[in-house]
């Protein structure tokens, strides 16, 4: 293994001559630059898609149409949802892994670096293609991120905007499959001497199961959208006729359910690392967590039709059983995360605050997920604001809080500078409050009968008060995001240099400079467990 690593170093030195400036960044196959650019692109689009969400909340604050037409609102929620899934969360989850996995396993390079770089370029070109649709005559895609047929066929949704959206989404996800392949191959083939599979850091394991799901489920999306586009061209007509609409839903959700775990697990892994480092002890229940991640990802491939309980055309019992069974691995993860904190010596820095926020907020997303896994209960709350509340507690309370735990934690490694602690705490406080203000009322709204994807409602529905609270919460979230942007700008303009290991980390990425050199490591410590740097400190103390 040591020899393979050394070869990788010399090989990259030949193919990769650093160029100055932005060209140097985009031309570089260095996994760190590819990871940073993938993540930075997605982070900018996160702020954009989030702003679209705030605009939706402004429209829904009061009954009646104030800011947008029905048509504009439909484009808005499509751009928000599709943007978040295809252009934000998937690239963020994978971009983080492209950067971190080679470092965590002690490799000099990612497997097939040019392929990972191609993934970035496909993300960029697909994003441009998708957004170009909004500048066409009929406007952009307006049938939701799910693009069900026959609503999205050419008769019901004419216009180039929808075609550009479909093609752009295909291009982006081809790129994501490439990056997932590179990460998985790195984990399997490029580990440092001593780094056995059961010594992989928690984040690397979470990246591994995510990549397994990407490789098995994303092709279903490519097939669904390609056939959809062929139908729109009038070439094939696969989804026309009786079974077409339900067939499309099966294909879509075979991608669409695993993807919500793809954009969740890497952040669970990040929260696990943060919880251990800021509790100043070894991660608790490592092998149980690895088992639960594997079980979780295996089960996640068999739950897709719980999105289709109300179609009356699937075997509800089976999908209810597999979906409810997810509470077992999820409960094990909570056991391990809280078990790491109990008995630790907890330091409440910003990354840890976001990790604790993740634990407290994702809880409501997970628990409401058990509710919608029951067909009888789903018959009422399906496609209502209850479901909107549910998946925002999983994706905002879970993934986004986990993402920001990761960003505040690894920012010194990525950039070589420290973020401001005070601004980080302010950001956390605003988001913790704003998150609950925005999304908790939606549980009640949905239960009371408010459907999702609704441009307008009537004052006689009695939903005005809760909608106003939700909109006020969205503005608090917006201010919190501005605080984060300010933190980034001020940390990059007035630099406080970061040491190699500012947090007393456990894993190999902290054993090299911040940011790491092109070849990642000058030397590696011995790897005897999943926390090699903690081992060294414990030996030193003895």
């Amino acid at each position: 293994m040591a020899r393979i690593t050394a070869q990788a170093v010399t090989a990259t030195a030949v193919v990769d001559t650093p160029r100055p400036g932005l060209v140097g960044w985009f031309a570089s196959a260095d996994h760190k630059r590819v990871g940073v650019l993938t993540g930075a692109t997605a982070l900018v689009l996160f702020l954009l898609s989030g702003t679209l969400g705030v605009l939706m909340r402004l429209e829904l604050a009061l009954p009646g149409l104030q800011l947008f037409s029905h048509d504009a609102y439909n484009q808005l929620f499509t751009a928000h949802g599709a943007g978040m899934f295809y252009l934000v969360f998937t690239p963020l989850a994978l971009g983080l892994a492209v950067y971190l996995v080679p470092l965590q396993v002690g490799a000099a390079e990612i497997f097939a670096p040019r392929l990972a770089q191609l993934g970035l370029w496909l993300l960029l070109s697909g994003a441009v293609t998708t957004y170009a649709g909004y500048f066409t005559q009929e406007g952009g895609a307006k049938t939701g991120w799910t693009a069900f047929v026959p609503l999205t066929d050419v008769q019901n949704s004419p216009g180039t905007g929808t075609d550009l959206w479909a093609v752009g989404t295909i291009v982006v996800n081809v790129g994501m499959i490439l990056q997932a392949f590179c990460i998985l191959a790195t984990l399997l083939r490029l580990r440092a001497p001593g780094m056995t599979m059961l010594r992989l850091p928690v984040f690397s394991w979470s990246a591994l199961v995510s990549c397994l799901m990407v490789l098995t489920s994303f092709p279903a999306l490519l097939v669904a959208l390609t056939l959809l586009e062929f139908d729109r061209r009038g070439w094939w007509g696969v989804f026309e006729g009786g079974g077409g609409p339900i067939a499309y839903q099966h294909l879509f959700w075979f991608y669409g359910h695993p993807v919500v775990y793809v954009v969740f697990f890497p952040f669970v892994g990040a929260v696990g690392e943060v919880a251990a480092v800021f509790s100043q002890r070894r991660f608790f229940g490592y092998s149980a967590l690895v088992l639960s991640l594997l079980l979780f990802s295996a089960l996640s491939m068999s739950v897709w039709a719980h999105h289709m309980f109300t179609t009356g055309q699937v075997q509800n019992e089976y999908f209810s059983l597999t979906s409810t069974a997810l509470l077992i691995p999820a409960g094990v993860e909570y056991f391990d995360l809280i078990g790491t904190m109990i008995g630790g010596a907890i330091v409440l820095r910003t990354p840890m605050l976001f990790a604790i926020g993740f634990l407290l907020l994702f809880l409501f997303g997970g628990l409401s997920g058990i509710i919608v896994a029951s067909p009888v209960l789903d018959y009422h709350v399906h496609d209502s604001f209850f479901v909107v509340a549910h998946f925002h507690y999983t994706l905002f309370g879970g993934s986004v809080f986990g993402l920001f735990a990761a960003l505040y934690y690894w920012w010194p490694k990525f950039t070589g500078t420290m973020l401001r602690e005070g601004l980080g705490r302010l950001h956390f406080a605003l988001w913790f409050a704003g998150m609950n203000m925005t999304f908790f009322p939606m549980f009640v709204l949905g239960y009371e009968g408010m459907p999702r994807r609704l441009a307008d409602y009537s004052s006689s529905d009695g939903w005005t008060g809760l909608n106003l609270v939700a909109t006020a919460g969205a503005l608090v979230l917006f201010v919190g995001a501005l605080v984060f942007v300010w933190n980034v700008v001020s940390s990059l303009s007035r630099r406080v240099p970061a040491p190699a290991d500012p947090w007393l980390g456990h894993t190999l990425e902290w054993a090299t400079s911040s940011p790491p050199p092109r070849h990642n490591f000058d030397e590696l410590p011995p790897v005897l467990s999943f926390a090699p740097l903690l081992d060294l400190r414990e030996q030193g103390a003895r």
Binding site: Q280, A325, L327, V332, I338, I342, I346, S368
Partner: protein, 210 residues
Amino acid sequence: MTDTRSEFEDLFLGLYLPLMVVVSVVVWLLVLFAIVRYRARRGHVPSAKSDAKVAESLYALGLAAIAGVLVWQTFTHENRVDRVAATPTTRILVSAFKWQWRFSYPGAGIPAIVGTHAHTPELVVPTGKTVRITLTSRDVIHALWIPELRFKRDAFPGRPTHFDLVFDEPGRFTGRCAEFCGLDHAEMTLRVRAVPESEYRAWLASRRRQ
């Protein structure tokens, strides 16, 4: 007789919601306890224990038992909700289209009720009887949702679906399209009026005379 609302409430208020509240409180208290009790202090050494395999295995078995109870209760309730009667008392065909509803009462000899943008259509049903709805769509996928009954079902083009509803009490409710169906989805509402059997017959008779 499929009383969707009482089946829903029995399962949700009787089992799922109380369980969720208890779990939420326990987890929040545990996390807050950990933060307060295990904050880093001078002289406090973090535990060196890195797993508890027996305890965690027992805990996982406990989780599996909870999942088992939830699934069992869900299945028994769903069997009752999904069951369709052999001989329903009233049959109504509901056809959804962009962005309105059409109700017809086969064999009743009355004209179909078709909604327009200016006039929200009204579905009139008898209370205490099994109402068999046959739901279909003329264009894209819609969904008929009557929040009062805690029930919805998708309307697929070319694939009619059948289900039974029971309205316990007389009253007026709002129904909606729950599946996003294009431009005016937000306007696709209907009214539901549940009336006693005698009044229902009188309503049919008056419709016949029109």
